[in-house]
């Protein structure tokens, strides 16, 4: 009886200890991978804005020969051949060499960047695999674990490695934040930056160095094939939500951190699942959601905004057409709001029956147009005011274009149509001041022929 209880308590303690230790380890893994995600998201944003996302791919593949060579050298020198800083130093050297080769090939040959990246990526990777295979059977050193650089395995890191990784990541992130202004300038207007006296080449190299640092540090956790996703995906996802760079950087860092955290925790719970793959899939899911719903550039909000604009344009067209017809059919000023027939409207702008019905339905839902029992339509009180305002804006813009853009009066109607829907009250006030036209009614600069739906120059 007492024996059993002793064994039970012993087991329990062991389990507790293991669990505690394991929790501690897991915590370190999760923290380092989360930090990695944040740093990669941050730096990947600049890479994305520089339109050099795939350069990270060439870079990560180019690190493999360095790992192999460093392993061989360290074992030849009798050191611990799997010391992480040593391996990563090798990775950094060949990685940077790869990036420099890409730039050199692009500069000195007729080949484009994609071919240059492809050459470096495939040749360095091939060389790396060949070297890894060669050094695998060096007597006295086990190369097991080097494979984790290809597919990624956070659990293969030992505790001192993780501290090293965390330190490098924190330094990288701070460097990136310190250089925020310079990098922003580099991304948006390189030529301006160089004329302002900024050392753009040095900045470019610094950015590449930071990318290299994050890539190399991330190799062990995510693997060299998938590390590129850490650089690209969070940044691209964040881009859908905002047009503000600072917000984008924050968001990219958060998205990267969340994917990293998810990937590392899931793979710690279920060791059979490769962490790199989970991280990439988590990031991809966030990307997909962002691409669809992202507020600034997402597909759905953009589509809705487009639909909204289309409605607004259609409504403004029908109001202006009605107003122009009223003007043309009446001698007296100010004109009166009388019902007009659908046929007249259709001729005026070449609407098909279906289109016209749709536009009228929208205008009616906003109480701008009323339908008479006779089948004619009539502007409402508010519609009439709106119509006269829209027509006036249109003409102001036409006059402005004729005066300042030298557009012929016979052609100005369509050109004005491209912009007038976006004129705000402020711009209209500026137009009035510019054209010296404060009166409520502005004459059309060209003849509006309602019967034929044609607009031609005034005869006199």
């Amino acid at each position: 009886m007492s024996d059993v209880s002793v064994i039970a308590s012993f087991d329990f303690e062991l389990l507790w200890e293991t669990l505690f230790l394991k929790t501690y380890n897991t915590r370190l893994v999760v923290v380092s991978v989360t930090l990695l995600g944040a740093a990669a998201g941050l730096i990947g944003s600049f890479l994305l804005l520089r339109k050099q996302s795939l350069l990270g791919d060439a870079l990560s593949h180019a690190t493999l020969p360095g790992i192999g060579i460093a392993f061989a050298l360290m074992s030849a020198l009798g050191m611990n051949a799997k010391s992480l800083p040593g391996l990563l130093a090798g990775a950094t050297i060949t990685g940077l060499l790869g990036v420099l080769l890409v730039l050199a090939i692009k500069r000195t040959t007729r080949l484009k960047e994609d071919a240059a990246m492809g050459i470096v990526l495939s040749v360095f990777f091939g060389l790396g695999v060949a070297i890894l295979r060669m050094v695998q059977k060096i007597p006295g050193q086990s190369s097991a674990g080097l494979e984790s650089f290809i597919y990624g395995k956070p659990a293969s890191m030992i505790a001192s490695d993780r501290l090293f990784i965390i330190v490098v990541l924190v330094i990288t992130t701070f460097a990136c934040l310190l250089l925020l202004k310079e990098f922003t300038l580099l991304c948006f207007d390189t030529n301006f930056a160089s004329t302002e006296g900024w050392p753009t080449l040095t900045l470019d190299i610094l950015l590449m160095a930071l990318v290299t640092a994050v890539t190399v540090i991330g190799l062990q956790a995510v693997g060299l094939i998938l590390i590129i996703a850490f650089l690209i995906t969070p940044a691209t996802a964040a881009r859908f939500w905002t047009n503000n760079l600072r917000h984008m950087l924050w968001l990219a860092a958060i998205i990267g951190a969340v994917s990293g955290w998810l990937g590392a925790s899931v793979s710690a719970l279920l060791p059979k699942l490769p962490a790199g793959a989970i991280i990439v899939i988590a990031a991809a899911v966030i990307f997909l959601i962002s691409m669809i719903f992202g507020r600034a550039r997402g597909v759905l909000p953009r589509f809705l905004r487009h639909l909204d604009l289309q409605r607004k344009v259609g409504r403004q067209h029908i109001l202006r057409s009605t107003y122009e017809i009223l003007e043309n059919t009446q001698e007296s000023h100010p004109i009166q709001n009388l019902p007009i027939s659908m046929d007249l409207l259709r001729k005026h702008r070449y609407w098909s029956k279906g289109e016209l019905a749709k536009v009228i339905r929208q205008a009616r839902s906003e109480d701008h147009i009323e339908r008479r029992p006779t089948g004619e339509i009539c502007l409402s009180e508010s519609g009439f005011g709106e119509a006269s305002r829209i027509t006036r804006n249109h003409r102001l813009w036409e006059l402005y274009l004729i005066k300042h853009a030298d557009i012929a009066p016979s052609h100005v109607d369509r050109d004005a149509d491209m912009v007038e829907h976006l004129l705000g009250a402020e711009i209209v006030r500026q137009l009035e001041a510019e054209l010296d036209l404060e009166k409520p009614i502005v004459e059309s600069p060209h003849v509006i022929n309602t019967e034929l739906g044609l607009q031609s120059e005034p005869t006199s």
């Binding site: 996302s53 795939l54 040959t109 007729r110 990526l121 091939g126 996703a229 940044a235 990439v280 899939i281």
Partner: protein, 307 residues
């Protein structure tokens, strides 16, 4: 170095595979889509995994079908993300292929963990083992002509690619150089585009078993790029790419036999060395070729090329 019939077989498979890849690679290069080759050869992994899980065998038409589908999907998704999301093409490609590769890794780890399909095999292949799987072509009492099964597969891929490029030479050329004109002439550049993507995917699958995707990526990109530095004529470009691809494969295997002994190391991998050798040839042409870096001083800068 012990020269055996095995080496001959390995070289045969390598050469056939390299040439099969170089053909579509020329058109990828002309369309500035070389990285698409890289993306597709990674992204076929889930197609292979699903096909493997469905059919339960490695050598089957399912594999070809699954991979070709995954390849076309890569191109399609990239297109969609670029078009609808207004994302730069490089970034879109990166997102698509890493995601597909990750899904493939998960599927393999989960479903096929204990069988003989693993990610490493897709990446590196097993060129050294191809001579173990021989097919008898011709057998009488005196003669026995055999070739590796992989040679048959990659050879078929090469023939298929020659056939497709032979038939659609005009369309491929026009669509590569002037997609707009091709469209107005009724050549459907989009169909040609996806045809090319399918070719790349099918070639990748044909090659993956024997040589892995390293060679596929290298041979898709490097020999055409090297040839591009030598000539501006398309027929010559294709011919040179094939020759360079074959040379890289031969040199690759030879060096994989010679190099480790030189360094006092046990062995290396032929497929890796084949990729390395293609890079070595590129380096030679880059430095010493007709427009090589070392000749730059003696020559005026010429106007941009017109192929």
């Amino acid at each position: 170095m012990n020269w055996t019939v095995n080496d001959l077989h390995i070289i045969l498979v390598g050469v056939l595979c390299a040439m099969a890849c170089a053909l579509p690679g020329v058109f990828l290069l002309l369309r500035r889509m070389s990285m698409m080759g890289d993306a597709i050869s990674h992204a076929v992994l889930p197609g292979l995994a699903v096909a493997f899980l469905v059919s339960g065998s490695r050598a089957s038409w399912w594999m070809f079908f699954g991979a070709a589908l995954a390849g076309v999907l890569t191109a399609l998704f990239t297109q969609w993300i670029t078009k609808f999301g207004k994302v730069e093409r490089g970034a879109a490609m990166g997102i698509v292929f890493t995601t597909l590769f990750a899904i493939g890794l998960l599927l393999i780890e989960q479903g096929a963990g204990n069988v003989d399909l693993d990610a490493g095999c897709v990446l590196y292949g097993a060129l050294e083992y191809t001579p173990l799987n021989l097919v008898t072509l011709f057998e009488t009492e005196e003669f026995l002509i055999q070739m590796p099964h992989a040679a048959l597969v990659t050879g078929s891929a090469l023939l298929l690619n020659i056939l497709i490029i032979g038939i659609f030479y005009k369309e491929l050329t026009l669509a590569s150089f002037d997609a707009g004109l091709a469209e107005t002439q009724g050549f459907r550049p989009k169909v040609i585009h996806y045809l090319l993507m399918t070719m790349v995917a099918v070639t990748t699958v044909a090659a993956f078993e024997a040589v892995g995707s390293i060679i596929v990526i290298a041979m898709l990109i490097v020999p055409p790029a090297t040839a591009f530095l030598i000539t501006r004529r398309l027929p010559l470009l294709i011919g040179l790419s094939l020759a360079l691809a074959a040379t890289s494969a031969i040199l690759g295997h030879l060096s994989s036999q010679a190099l480790p002994a030189l360094l006092g190391l046990p062995e290396t991998m032929s497929s890796g060395m084949m990729a390395t050798m293609s890079g070595f040839l590129f380096l030679l042409v880059w430095l010493f070729g007709p427009q090589g870096l070392l000749k730059k001083q003696s020559r005026e800068l010429v106007a941009p090329p017109t192929l």
